[in-house]
């Protein structure tokens, strides 16, 4: 059986990844990104939510040479090629932190808490990082 035929038999589920941590102070953001890429490789319906400090992961202009860590923010721009196109950010989180859509490295949809709650209700599986 070819790879594609096998895929047809698979059940596609709605996976949501909720990202709530800043990028370099802990390993959560990077780990989440890795899991997202793996889920995408299995042709699942993937949504990403960035709320609380998670919105900092998408900040433009990260330059990590000075802290000796890998800058993984460019990888968010590759998500589209993995057919991960549903990126949502929390308006509440942006407002509290003085961050606007223009500050972000990728195109996102800004949602209210209410809209995020509805979206969450609609998922099969939710991973929180």
């Amino acid at each position: 059986m070819s790879e594609e035929e096998m895929m047809d038999d698979e059940v596609v589920k709605k996976f949501m990844f909720v990202n709530r941590r800043a990028p370099y102070g802990s390993i959560y953001a990077l780990e989440s990104l890795e899991v997202v890429l793996i889920a995408a490789a299995f042709d699942q319906d993937v949504s990403l939510v960035f709320s609380d400090d998670g919105i900092y992961q998408l900040k433009k202009g990260q330059e990590t040479a000075g802290i000796g860590m890998k800058n993984f923010s460019p990888t968010y721009r590759a998500l589209e090629m993995y057919d991960v196109e549903k990126l949502y950010v929390s308006k509440t989180a942006m407002d509290a932190r003085g961050i606007s859509k223009d500050d972000l490295i990728v195109d996102v949809e800004v949602l209210s808490d209410e809209a995020l709650a509805d979206l969450m209700d609609d998922q099969d599986v939710i991973f929180s990082f």
């Binding site: 995408a40 490789a41 800058n71 993984f72 990888t75 090629m81």
Partner: protein, 110 residues
């Protein structure tokens, strides 16, 4: 583990991937290919160079599916298919070509 290229030693992990991406030089790919009984042609180098550029831009080694699509866009439709890429890299364009290019193993590759 390590491989020797022109008297210089390059550290690799247990699966043969270069530990430090920045260590890479073309000789590394040549030696790795020789160990896999492969002669690198211009077509191989197109893919290896493409992978290095991709990594530079996105900081990841692309999954095969993504690589195939991206190669098609950049190098033409006749090269953007798995038949072409597997013919060049029989152990898998993701795994083998990434290894030659000094990249880590693609995320999601088991």
């Amino acid at each position: 583990m390590a491989i020797e290229v022109n008297g210089k030693s390059f550290e690799t992990d247990e699966e043969g991937y270069l530990t430090n991406l920045s260590d890479w030089e073309p000789g590394v790919a040549e030696i790795m290919a020789k160990e896999d009984d492969l002669d690198l042609t211009e077509e191989h180098w197109d893919i290896i160079n493409f992978l290095r550029e991709y990594y530079e831009e996105y900081q990841i080694a692309p999954a095969v599916r993504v690589l195939t699509k991206a190669v098609g866009k950049k190098l033409g439709k006749e090269k953007g298919n798995s038949k072409y890429l597997y013919a060049l890299f029989p152990y898998g364009p993701g795994k083998q070509a990434c290894r030659f290019a000094g990249l880590p193993k693609p995320t999601g590759c088991i």
